[in-house]
Amino acid sequence: MLKDITLGQYFPGNSFLHRMDPRMKLILCVVYIVLLFVAKGITSFALIVLFTAGIILASGIQFRTIFKSLKPLIFILIFTTILNLFWNAGEDGTVLLKLGRLTIYLEGVIRALLMSLRIILLMAGTTVILMYTTSPISLTDAIEQLFAPLNKIKIPVHTFAMMMTMALRFIPTLLEETQKIINAQKARGADFESGNLIARAKALVPILIPLFISQFRRAEELATAMECRSYRGGEGRTRMTVLHFSSRDYIAVLAVALLFAGILLLNRYLPFYSI
């Protein structure tokens, strides 16, 4: 079912991560990504793995859900692994295997593993911090507020944020509606599975036309509804939920700062096969 796509889906909850300020989450998420690229050796990666496992536990999201969200990465992972496997470690590398002109070094294997790990952590960490535990609405709120200074150079931050909020808000509706129309046409015997490419493309017409029509209708209704409530853009608007940092956010900052320090120290003193 279309609805089962988990990418960018919010899991309502009440965990430590859910209750953090979205602005802080956004900032810390960027720091986390930077850290992933600062980390060099097996030891520093191990530290990040521990940290990520910690935030997953703190988020109350099941590990199974996270693994499921990693599925689309499978090809990138295979590709990365194969490329790095044949990395040439040069003179002082430990040779593991010689396959004709190809040589596999121990360093290459480790490099392949760490690179894949980096991609996995990148996906898992950011989805848990931002996607799964932050509602799209508060995420755009956070973006709007963090970028507010750009208003000074005449960039309509509010308008962009509003557009994003609306787009995000209507993705589930759109998916639901698509599913409904697909079902309705299937009930009339539509066949999307057989036939050649042209026949299949043609089979999509009965879905796309009703979908477009209803989206245009919806857009128009939404615009009217907003105007009826005197919506006029960002100027002078007050907010229903005012964001503010709490002790929770400072604890998170501390945790990430410790992680940062830990990685720098490990990189320097205990690199252990650094890449």
Binding site: I181, N183, K186, A187, R188, A190
Partner: protein, 287 residues
Amino acid sequence: MNAAELRGVSYVYSKNTPFCKVAVNNIDIAFEEKIVTGIIGHTGSGKSTVSQMLNGLLKPSEGVVLVEDKDIWSEPKKIRNVRFAVGLVFQYPEYQLFEETVYKDIAYGPKNMGLSESEIDERVRMAASLVGITEDMFDKSPFDLSGGWKRRVAIAGVMAMRPKILILDEPAAGLDPRGRDEILSRIVEYRRSTDSTVIMISHSMEDMAVYCEKILVMSDSKPFMYGTPAEVFSKSAELESVGLAVPQVTKLMTELKARGYHVRTDIYTVAQAKAEIARLVKEGAVC
């Protein structure tokens, strides 16, 4: 013989996710052949889920669905044939229209069945006349029609496949009383003229009372009551306990009885109530 049957059927939406939701919970229902059966129930009681399982759009998480005593999922590859035999009209079907003309839209289903040109033409004309669409409307764009007419085109689109079982999810939702009566009576007419089975979902007790021979009441993902309108509506207390109400005329008769008039309370249509009150007046019980 039963037209369709659900045996030990459950359906769970978004299984194995935090959004998992049991919509239908281990139910056994049999739909009798060649009658109009109504399904009522409060919102979210699983009516639409049942209807979509009957024509193979949803595969039950557990249990079997039988249509004419055959398990519809015994050959998953042939599920399209089940959809031709069990026609399903969705709620607000007007949103599924897409062709340039009314005629082409009604012909979409029969065309998918792989029928011959002449057979398609004959079926389109039959279905159109059943819902009251005249030939001069055939070349109009369905998008230029009013909501009620769009709905008729959509219903005709499913009728044209001439399903042995026709299921309609709230066919009268959002129509004015006259449009409602007209559509519902045409559905009953379809059943009579094609000798098929009709199952329709509705929220309106009044409509159910008038147009259905049997009524299935659903509550909390399970069947709650089944019987003729008279049987079902005589249990007003039970219906109210699951958030449903009996038709207003039935309420009126119950109230009259409570005030000491000797009237029947198994009355559920205005016509019956009229006759009963006329009898009461004639016998001089009212002054």
